[in-house]
Symmetry: C2
Subunit: 179 residues, 2 copies
């Protein structure tokens, strides 16, 4: 009886917000099944670190258009950790979304906005799992439910050589670059 | 004595995560002081709804450059409400950030990324406070701590005429347009 009273009192005076909450939200970091990264969900509520248009590694222009918009997001806990420590912890995941660039629609008289999404990729830092610390994954614009890492040479060597901080192109990302 | 024991027991068996938390985060919606909107903080963790480059209302091009990047964010609770109901509740706040467009830096061979921020504006829906339902505010790239609304004709008439949904340019924002 005393236990019941005690618990009743506790529930009466202490807010218990988690009792009213919806089902748990999607994971806010990388989820692996074996060696494959599960396609991330819910990252539209993650912090955007940078947007760009037409960034290309190609020496020769690809077509005459402006190229694609890139959006790069980072998982919230790693964003917070980077702001506090200046380093990316294991479990950091960046999402790269590509959107077709569509040109001026009324009332705009010029410029480009994001048309349909045309790509979905991710990078993950895990110094225990990956020899170089980072791995890179492509989800064929969301068509793949899981993805295994690209070969080491395809992405990482360029990131290591040119990225401003820990293989991350912080120099292109105002939200990390200009805190 | 019984009260002390009861509270001790309650604290022993029920997790109280908020006791360990940092100070409360910035407001995730509009804060007014009188008629002035307080400059928003912490919106880099809000959902981005769209990015664009060089969208301009001007009939004649402004200079020969690509124009500025725009980032548009919405406050988290209104993002959730819009996804659930298809309408923007009172208290909805959009943030517009403008960034100078900087051109290709190694390893990129072409394209534009975000240079320094050059503008900070906001729109707020409050059908009790504003005759037209929405008002628009400029913070001089963050130099102003508060801002009063732009005159009704400066922004709203164009939004009403051209925006796809409730004076919001949903047609330019994939995160709201293509759920």
């Amino acid at each position: 009886m005393r236990l019941v009273l005690t618990i009743s009192l506790a529930m009466a005076v202490i807010p218990l917000p988690w009792l009213d909450e919806a089902p748990p939200p999607p994971a806010t970091g990388p989820v692996f099944t074996g060696a494959a990264l599960v396609r991330p969900e819910g990252y539209h509520t993650w912090p955007l670190v940078g947007a760009s248009l037409g960034l290309s590694y190609a020496e020769t222009p690809q077509g005459s258009g402006p190229g694609a918009f890139h959006r790069v997001y980072v998982n919230p806990s790693s964003y917070e950790a980077y702001g506090r420590t200046g380093t990316f912890p294991d479990g950091t995941m960046f999402i790269l979304e590509l959107y077709a660039a569509h040109e001026k629609t009324a009332p705009a008289k010029g410029g480009f906005f994001e048309g349909p999404r045309v790509g979905l990729e991710a990078s993950v830092k895990d110094t225990r799992r990956f020899k170089s610390g980072w791995a890179y994954f492509g989800f064929e614009n969301g068509a793949r439910a899981t993805a295994t890492a690209f070969p080491e040479g395809r992405c990482h060597s360029c990131h290591v050589d040119h990225a401003a901080r820990d293989s991350v192109f912080v120099q292109f990302y105002p939200t990390l670059r200009d805190p």
